[in-house]
């Protein structure tokens, strides 16, 4: 009995806290929520994203903020677990009362959180989730990057037209919506361009021994291996592949973009290629200024995820300014109307499907540096 009374008191206390925190941020601040993976297997994604959006809001606040208010960014960690993403976004919306949500990098995480934003009518901008299904969740979900049909096709085009490969193998992460999406679109485009996929193997995020799959790939003797995964697994896979005597280049997507890729994979990564959103080699003064500012603040070169987060944060701030309020529906319309926004990852226009249409770059891994090899424009690939 005493326990029940205690439980009731606890419940009441929890509810009271919820109610008191439920009110929207103070009059002088606009609260923006961000969810990301700050720890775990894709932690550099979350950290880069956080750094990029913090830098953007810091610049905006220094110039007086938006609508005369300062922007306050609240960041939550989902520990690289998709199921946690839903929990932390619910907290951001219901407890902290944020006006808009930024995130996530990984599509599986975005897909877990998007329905929550949609049902609460809080606009969400994903800086770098490329799976098409993310923005199909509803009309409050946007992104400022290109999507997987384009990214997969770009690498297929590069492999077939520039590298002149005819036979490739694919190794896909079956537990990642992102990876499976890229696999589908790469395969389709590569076949259209006259290539052949000789073998397809799969792994699951968190696996650490890939010798069985790699031995099967080696037996098929491909000219390259398409590996649309995330950097932790990519680094270990390529390392193990070299030990098994697979010398052909590996090709990948923007999930490779992390300083950790080189740390884990090391020299095994030399000569591999991946598609990405931008290159730090871009001579555009806006890009160079961003790279310099970022380096000054965080002491490292910004990867594409930092750049996209920087763009997403600025697109959001511009939309709040244009909407003249943080009301969900008005803000949604303002984000949707974004046209020719000068981002560091290219000019951003949001299309009717709430996606950005932008060119992609192909980077080559060379002794820890990512060198720009080719830029492929959206109109160059036929989907």
């Amino acid at each position: 009995m005493r326990f029940r009374v205690l439980a009731a008191v606890c419940m009441a206390a929890v509810l009271a806290v919820n109610v008191s925190c439920g009110s929207k941020g103070s009059q002088k601040e606009i609260l923006i929520g961000e969810y990301g993976s700050l720890t775990g297997g894709i932690a550099t994604f979350g950290i880069s994203t956080k750094n990029g959006s913090e830098l953007a809001f810091q610049e905006i606040n220094a110039k007086g903020g938006v609508l005369g208010k300062q922007i306050k960014l609240l960041v939550e960690d989902d520990q690289s677990k998709p199921e946690e993403a839903g929990t932390v976004v619910t907290k951001l919306i219901n407890q902290n009362g944020v006006s808009a949500v930024l995130g996530h990098v990984a599509s599986s995480h975005s897909l877990a959180a998007a329905p929550i934003c949609q049902s609460n009518q809080i606009p969400m901008i994903s800086p770098s989730s490329t799976n098409p299904r993310v923005t199909q969740v509803g009309n409050y979900i946007f992104r400022v990057c290109f999507i997987d049909p384009f990214q997969g096709a770009v690498m297929a085009k590069f492999a077939a037209d520039t590298l002149k490969f005819k036979k490739v193998a694919i190794l896909v992460d079956v537990r990642s919506d992102y990876s499976v999406g890229l696999q589908t679109f790469f395969r389709q485009q590569f076949r259209q361009l006259g290539g052949e996929v000789v073998v397809e193997q799969s792994y699951s995020q968190g696996d650490s021994d890939f010798r069985a799959q790699l031995t099967a790939i080696k037996a098929a003797n491909p000219e390259a291996v398409y590996l649309p995964g995330y950097y932790t697994e990519v680094g270990t896979i390529v390392h193990q592949a070299r030990e098994l005597g697979i010398t052909v280049p590996f090709l990948g997507g923007d999930g490779w973009d992390s300083p950790k890729l080189w740390e884990i994979g090391g020299a095994a990564m030399n000569g591999c290629y991946f598609s990405n959103h931008y290159s730090t080699d871009d001579p555009n003064p806006a890009v160079q200024k961003f790279v310099a500012d970022y380096k000054a603040k965080y002491g490292q070169v910004p990867d594409a995820l930092a750049a996209l987060a920087y763009d997403a944060a600025r697109v959001l701030a511009a939309a709040i300014e244009k909407a003249g309020s943080t009301d969900g529906a008005k803000l949604r319309d303002a984000i949707g109307a974004t046209k020719d926004f000068p981002g560091v990852t290219g000019t951003i226009s949001i299309n009717a499907d709430r996606n950005a249409v932008k060119p992609a770059v192909i980077l080559k891994v060379e002794n820890g540096k990512y060198l720009l090899v080719e830029t492929i424009k959206p109109e160059a690939v036929k989907l």
Binding site: T39, G40, V174, S202, S208, R211, T215, A216, E243, L244
Partner: protein, 298 residues
């Protein structure tokens, strides 16, 4: 054919790691009738100790001596950790119901995992190569020195363990405790000491497994103990929990079947097949492949 042989080698090297960890499960179960859920995490700590030791030694060229040093250091550290866990967590509740002990084990496991994330950091770390690398080729097959090391070291450790249990005085006492704790105590065996030795041995073997796998993969992360611990547990049950040769057989079977499934079917079925085998064996032979039936006397 070469592909098949290569897969077989992959499977055996993975399986010998499972076997090393499974030995710890089975030995502790033998003396205490306890599934030590923290065992997989001891294995993870072993890999991390190896990581920090090899970073310390990294100034020198990779050599066999430094590899041996890393391995031994990590085994000693984990032996101490194992004894400590038993002393602090299990001994106070040893007389309580079996369920209490089991829940304590789960608690210890969660505790180690979360402290590890705090101390070592949650990001995966790259494990440097310890020994000079050479590849051996047989036809189209390729054996890395790491794979050979894994299989050879595991075999050596298992033979040593077998010798220890069968021939030495402490080993005999261990078998006596496993047969009946109370009777062993009446015969003047210091059961507390034997239980500590068992934990030390099992944890040292797990640590060697941790270093060996970290060399191969090559990365370490604080949650790496979960999948390996689970598979090794399955291996121990499959071989007959409490049976030392059973743990080795179970480990090799699970490792090889896993690799074959991934290589020839699909990685999606990797765990389904491993656990499928377990269910099948438990239906047909509940005591496991090499386990003995214990008749309960009322």
């Amino acid at each position: 054919m070469t592909t098949f042989l290569q897969q077989l080698v992959n499977g055996l090297s993975l399986g010998s790691i499972y076997a090393l960890i499974a030995l710890g499960y089975t030995m502790v179960y033998g003396v205490l009738r306890l599934i030590n859920f923290a065992h997989g995490d001891v294995y993870m700590v072993g890999a991390y100790v190896g990581y920090y030791l090899s970073r310390l030694l990294q100034r020198k060229e990779p050599s066999l001596a430094s590899a041996l040093l890393v391995m031994l250091g990590s085994m000693i550290a984990c032996a101490l950790l194992g004894v400590l866990i038993e002393r602090l967590a299990y001994r106070p509740v040893r007389k309580e119901a079996r369920l209490t002990l089991l829940i304590t084990a789960i608690g210890v496991s969660l505790f180690i995992e979360n402290v590890a994330q705090l101390v070592f950091g949650p990001d995966p770390k790259f494990f440097p190569s310890l020994a000079p690398r050479t590849d051996f080729r047989f036809g189209g097959m390729r054996l890395t020195s790491e794979q050979i090391t894994v299989i050879a070291v595991s075999l050596l450790l298992m033979v040593l363990l077998r010798f220890f249990i069968m021939k030495t005085r402490t080993g005999k006492a261990m078998r006596a405790v496993s047969f009946s704790l109370d009777a062993a105590k009446l015969m003047g065996i210091s059961t507390d000491w034997i239980i500590s030795v068992t934990f030390a041995l099992g944890s040292a073997l797990a640590a060697s497994g941790g270093v060996l796998i970290a060399m191969q993969i090559p990365k370490v992360d604080p949650l790496m103990g979960i999948p390996y611990g689970l598979k090794a547990f399955v291996a121990a049950v499959l071989g007959g929990i409490g049976s030392v040769p059973g743990a080795v057989l179970g480990g090799l079977l699970i490792g090889t079947s896993e690799v074959m499934v991934v290589g020839y079917l699909s990685s999606t079925y990797r765990d389904a097949i491993a656990f499928g085998i377990l269910i099948l064996v438990l239906i047909l032979r509940p005591q496991g492949l090499l386990g003995r039936v214990h008749k309960e006397k009322v």
